[in-house]
């Protein structure tokens, strides 16, 4: 020890010295004493009654976490939730859209009769108001059904069972088993899922969980997926089957997302984030009867209103921006179409089109507004003033803009895989404090999204589809 050692260094040196003088097993003894003490106290204070009732908890648990039925049951529960969401949201969504259209028509009429210039009327009503109306009618009903169901499962104690069922898959991918929990949180919101990765103690595995959280669709993206599934994929089936097929498509997308999560986790843990999966113990809590009021509050106020408000905040300026883009003409073409036309070749290459790519650029602040942005582009430019019902939307997109099933499928895939929203990217930065990993987390998915949609387009076109 030198004389200019800091107090901290002197302290550590002394600690090392003292440690050598201690009996070798002092740590074990210490921990054992603690456990022993806890055990003897519990013995004195706790009495387990002999009354043995039929234990439905463990019966249900054995089923839900069984190696054979666990995963299929999980998919069944997920399908049921989506089916309820889609079947239940259809009618209120249409009613809301109709209501907003009516208000918009009245507003436009009023402004026109007052002699207000057309561009103010257009900007406020066809731009800002229509943006809001779209977001609320497309998003509110599904969220108001999906969130309470999800929160119910959360409060019941189902999420750790999901983690348990999927643990072996994540282990195979070289990732942490708890990643299935953070992935499940990602269904609610990817930014929340990324914050939840704090439960993973290994930095390597935590980084994998952060980078791949985006591959499960968040609640901002579910309405997009649900709409596409309803309008396009399910449209070619008999009406009676519509909601079932739509739910099935959304579940398929979710499963694809989970597969991507696992594959990318595996790739990361074998390349840049090499390492062994660490062992952990996961506690399966008892099932608890959820508190109805708590569920409604959490799901409706904290989640639905929160997400909706975020969407509204971005939808209003986005609506205004689109209206401007669509109404400022350079030559005889609007600015919007100039950009869309420039993006068209790239869009076409991946089975989408220029308008869709432009919508994704405008929607970077919040994924919630992709579909509304897209529709406003098509509608605003197509001289249509009303918000069409789902069935009219199908006719319009297929008839006027050349959409095919390939477009719908690729749009769903793109929506699933593309870059995370601005909030999520910010969260990645806050949690990792690393420019490198944040960039990878933001751009990696985008590259994957383009690669996958490109491959799908090539294959589909080779078979004469799309």
């Amino acid at each position: 020890m030198t004389n200019n050692a800091t107090p901290a260094e002197r302290l550590l040196a002394q600690a090392d010295l003292l440690r050598q003088a201690l009996p070798g097993d002092f740590r074990d003894t210490l921990v054992q004493t603690l456990y022993h003490e806890a055990e003897s106290m519990a013995e004195k204070a706790v009495q387990q009654g002999g009354r043995k009732r039929w234990d439905w908890d463990s019966t249900v648990d054995r089923l839900l976490t069984s190696p054979i039925f666990g995963l299929p049951l999980m998919l069944a529960i997920l399908s049921l939730i989506f089916w309820l969401t889609i079947a239940g949201a259809n009618v209120p969504s249409a009613m809301l859209a109709e209501g907003f259209f009516w208000v918009e028509a009245q507003g436009v009429a009023l402004f026109t009769s007052l002699g207000i210039p057309w561009w103010i009327t257009g900007f406020l009503w066809d731009g800002v108001f229509r943006g809001l109306g779209w977001v609320i009618s497309v998003m509110l009903p599904p969220m108001a059904i999906f969130f309470p169901l999800f929160t119910f499962l959360e409060d019941l104690g189902y999420l750790p069972r999901v983690a348990f069922n999927m643990d072996w898959l994540f282990k195979k991918a070289g990732a942490h088993g708890k990643q299935s929990l953070t992935m499940a949180m990602g269904f609610g919101c990817n930014a929340a899922g990324i914050i939840a990765t704090r439960v993973i103690d290994s930095p390597r595995e935590r980084l994998i969980a952060i980078l791949t959280n985006n591959f499960v669709p968040c609640n901002g993206r579910f309405p997009t997926l649900i709409m596409l599934a309803t309008v396009f994929v399910a449209a070619s089936f008999p009406p009676a089957l519509t909601s079932v097929i739509a739910a099935g498509s959304v579940v398929t997308v979710v499963v694809i997302g989970i597969i991507f999560t696992l594959v990318i986790s595996g790739v990361l843990s074998r390349t840049v984030l090499r390492g062994e999966a660490s062992a952990f113990s996961l506690e399966l809590p008892p099932f608890r009867r959820p508190n109805l009021r708590q569920i409604l509050y959490t799901s409706l106020i904290d989640r639905t209103i929160f997400v909706l408000w975020r969407a509204i905040q971005t939808a209003a300026p986005a609506g205004a921006a689109i209206w401007l883009l669509a109404n400022i003409y350079v030559g005889d073409t609007s600015l919007a179409w100039h950009v869309a036309n420039a993006l068209q070749p790239l869009g076409n290459l991946v089975g989408l089109d220029g308008v869709i790519l432009l919508a994704y650029i405008i929607a970077i602040p919040a994924n919630e507004i992709v579909v509304p942005t897209m529709m406003m582009m098509y509608l605003g430019v197509g001289m249509m003033t009303d918000m069409p019902a789902y069935s009219e939307m199908h006719t319009m997109l297929v008839g006027q803009y050349g959409w095919t099933t390939l477009t719908a499928v690729n749009l769903m895939l793109f929506s699933l895989l593309h870059n995370p929203c601005a909030t999520t990217i910010m969260t990645m930065w806050k949690e990792t404090r690393s420019l490198k990993w944040t960039t990878l987390g933001a751009l990696g998915p985008l590259v994957i999204a383009f690669a996958v949609t490109f491959l799908v387009a090539v294959v589909a076109r080779a078979f004469g589809l799309g």
């Binding site: 002197r10 600690a15 210490l30 806890a38 204070a45 008892p286 099932f287």
Partner: protein, 270 residues
Amino acid sequence: MTEDCATCPANASLAQMGVDVSNFDYLIALAGNPNTGKSTVFNALTGLRQHTGNWPGKTVTRAEGGYQFQNKRYKLVDLPGTYSLLSASQDEEIARNFILFGQPDCTVVVNDATCLERNLNLVLQVLEITDRAVVVVNLMDEARRKDIAVDVRALARELGVPVVAAAARSGEGLGDILAAVRDVVTGQASVQPKRVQAHPALESAIRDLLPLIEQAAPGLPNPRWVALRLLDGDLRIRQALLSGELSEIAARQRQAVRGFSRKIALQGAQ
């Protein structure tokens, strides 16, 4: 809290203050194993609505709220669940740092009545570092359903600190928690926490290190715990000491605690 509870005599003097944690008289930490209902207790006392969820690891940041009881203002901090004070993941570190260095006036350790033995490990570790603690045996309703009886008096005798039986979900025992916390912070309760007797050689080694710790990190709360970790060869604590981070953490805990932190209360951000 349910309506019945708000009007029952025990709670008549409780006022939930939500995120208003200004000018508080006492600082209370809410600790415990994961998934024992800490957030439920927190919500019931503060009137806030922190998300609760039935899975371990739900709370990863700390949330703060306030309540007023018999004209005293309390600031309550809901911590992420932790099985021990020795562990390392980030959420657990938040809990550990606060319990160790945040210097709460009282630490309420929430326990799951249905697996008390495992929960008591944390209680004993907390009692190693503070005597101002209240032990809450929560989820009594679940225990009854499983035909498990907990003798809280016997437990209080063993632990040497107040023990309260509760079922926070239905509001059961909340009044007792309030009273027990009051008694501890005002010194009305006699607390003689159970300390696990360490090996005599270990005790003397700890005594040797204490003055050195005071030199290296002056004013650090719980130097005894730090000494123990150093003797154990805890690498993170070593690094924290060398980089001066340990003193910094301790200082930050105190600072954060004294400030009015609406942001923390609203977003659970630290």
